[in-house]
Amino acid sequence: MLLAKYTLLYTVVLMLVALGGMFSERSGIINIALEGIMVIGGLAGVLADMYLPFSPATVVVLSVLIAGAAGMLYALLLGYASINLRADQTIGGTALNILATALAMVIAKRVNGTQAPKLNYSNKAYLFNIAGLDLSVFIPIGIVLLLIAYFILYKTRLGLRLRSCGEHPQAADSVGINVYKMRYIGVLASGFLGSIGGLAYIMPAVQTWDFEQGVTGMGFLALAVMIFGQWKPFRIALAAIFFSLFRAMANIADSIPFLAQLQWPKEIYNMMPFLASMVVLALTSKKSRAPKAEGIPYDKGMR
């Protein structure tokens, strides 16, 4: 039961963030800043939860939306650098990761007024229980967003256009698609989904968060999930379940008799999802098919 609880928790996080990465990369922008976007979204959502003076249900809705909005704003920084200024997307993303942790620590310290970048909040309104299984509101949110993501990417004109910009932006431009606009949409979608994923990671599990640790590499794991999921929504969801099982082991190793007997240090379990992702990446690398134009700034003059 505990395994199911934690696996679900992490599945939603990894899936949302990887879906965010998918939108960005499908439009042609490598988004390595997902980790930072998660931190910003988590921070904004937690602050909203702490300070909004409304009924619990309203606060839940608003904090999720505020997290999403904050993430979109932050992702705009990546969009501006990599779309308009044609910067190196990996370096820009790295800068935003570093900046996000630093900003979150500064803000968290100022908010709680001490030298420790920790925030305390209440997460009761986000949790509910069905048949003895602890769930959070992020699970239905995640499922809905997964369906919407699939629908937009494959069943709408917007999705088709977005995908074309990640494959061959010159061709897309030649038939009148605004490549810059599509890429902005991709980056903004990744900001929205990534930051809600960040909140989904921080909020349901604990009631206090130390922002010094950022989001402990979940954003980077989500990148592996996205690659393993081959930039496709439902495959990403499956990949997220796979990785979450490994991640959940760290939380529950003590309570499973067989694993507890091994007496491995907890760090081994923390390490596992990262090791698993390397094995998976090595095995799938030959078949892997990334969007062709990702990482290459689009220059109209090069058409």
Partner: protein
């Protein structure tokens, strides 16, 4: 022709200074905002002038003055921090020169710290052998992403990120060892101080040079780092080996066509890059002032990521790295001297993050201007 090259490097330096300037301005604005919030929290009325003077006097002045703000201790700390920063900066810069982005310097640094401390605390080796141990551990950790890149064609950035975390958790596990590791001191919850277990492993002090001014002079770490930077510059610019590595960076297929073993070079370049980061950790943890804390090290070492800012700011020039590392050490040390209840020291990291962000596209503008000069040079028939 020499004149052109001179102008190109002037443009490089100018654009780096511009990044720094904008970064500092944004840092100042953040301080003004924080100062405003803190004054508003008090009951006394205040003016804009008060806000500005708070921001300047208890925050920005410290950042600008850096270690000089509190002599002599501050300057010593600044130099002690600059040495490992030069090394991680060189690590990232060297990889950039060979066309690779080594985001894994943080993990290689952590693994290098383990190597250094293991050689020191368990084997009680002299300091130079401990540094070598750190280099070997870092090199292995750096070679792994290179291996995945060369043989599986997996982007080195992804692999390095994964191995950052694997390295951090692995190092924590080994140093803690369930509390029974011989490296771990249960009382202080840190690794044993090197000075207590193996004084010979400490990097020698600068007794003759600095003793009259500093009460406790720093170590020779900074000189080790500078010497390595110079060696690296020579290797990259004056040797066939360096030329081959750079050729792989410019165009993998062209290098292969020219008969360069590009797989071997990728792995080698990453291994050297990792070794540099490892030595950086050695310089830091063998200085006698720092121990590893396996239970609370849940975040990757920031010095590894600061290496990225250092390298970008220096346009990956090994000699430039010396100066940009000093600058980053300068503002970080200064950040620690701000009034911490108003201005969290992480403001320095904010400034550093802004600088990397600016560098991401600044370098592009520069390359475009610089491109004009190099093209002329090529037409001149040389290079």
């Amino acid at each position: 022709m020499k004149n052109n090259r001179f102008r190109a490097s002037l443009i490089t330096i100018a654009s780096a200074l511009l990044c720094v300037l904008v970064g500092l301005v944004i840092g100042f604005l953040a301080l003004v905002l924080l100062g405003y919030i803190s004054l508003k929290g008090g009951s006394a009325p205040f003016t804009l002038g008060d806000v500005l003077s708070t921001a300047y006097n208890s925050g920005f002045k410290q950042v600008l003055l850096g270690g000089v703000y509190r002599l002599p201790r501050g300057l010593r700390n600044e130099i002690a921090l600059a040495a490992p920063l030069i090394m991680t900066g060189l690590s990232v810069a060297f990889a950039f020169k060979t066309g690779l982005f080594n985001i894994g310097a943080a993990g290689q640094y952590a693994v290098g710290a383990f190597g250094a401390l293991y050689c020191a605390l368990i084997w009680n080796l002299p300091w130079y052998l401990c540094l070598l141990g750190a280099a070997v551990f870092g090199a292995v950790w750096g070679a792994i992403p290179g291996f995945f890149k060369a043989f599986f064609n997996i982007n080195e950035v992804i692999t390095a990120i994964m191995f950052n975390w694997i390295g951090l958790y692995g190092v924590n596990t080994l140093m803690y060892g369930g509390g029974s590791s011989p490296m771990y001191n249960l009382k202080t919850t840190k690794t044993w101080p090197v000075s207590a277990k193996s004084p010979a492993s400490l990097i020698p002090d600068l007794k003759e040079l600095g003793a009259t001014y500093f009460q406790r002079p720093g170590t020779i770490a900074i000189f080790v780092a500078v010497v390595i930077a110079v060696i690296l510059w020579v290797v990259l610019n004056k040797t066939t080996f360096g030329y081959e590595l750079k050729a792989c960076g410019y165009s993998k297929s062209a290098a292969k066509y020219a008969g360069i073993n590009e797989k071997r070079n990728i792995i080698l370049a990453m291994a050297i890059s990792g070794a540099l980061a490892g030595i950086g950790a050695g310089l830091y943890y063998l200085s006698g002032t720092a121990e590893w804390q396996p239970l609370v090290s849940t975040a990757l070492p920031g010095i590894g990521f600061d290496g990225i800012s250092v390298a970008l700011l220096a346009s990956s020039n090994p000699l430039g790295v010396i100066f940009s590392a000093l600058f980053i050490a300068h503002i970080s040390t200064g950040g620690g001297f701000m009034s911490a209840n108003i201005f969290p020291p992480e403001i320095a990291d904010v400034i550093s993050g802004v600088i990397i962000y600016l560098c991401a596209f600044m370098m592009l503008f520069k390359r475009r201007i610089g491109g004009l000069f190099t093209r002329k040079e090529n037409e001149g028939g040389k290079n």
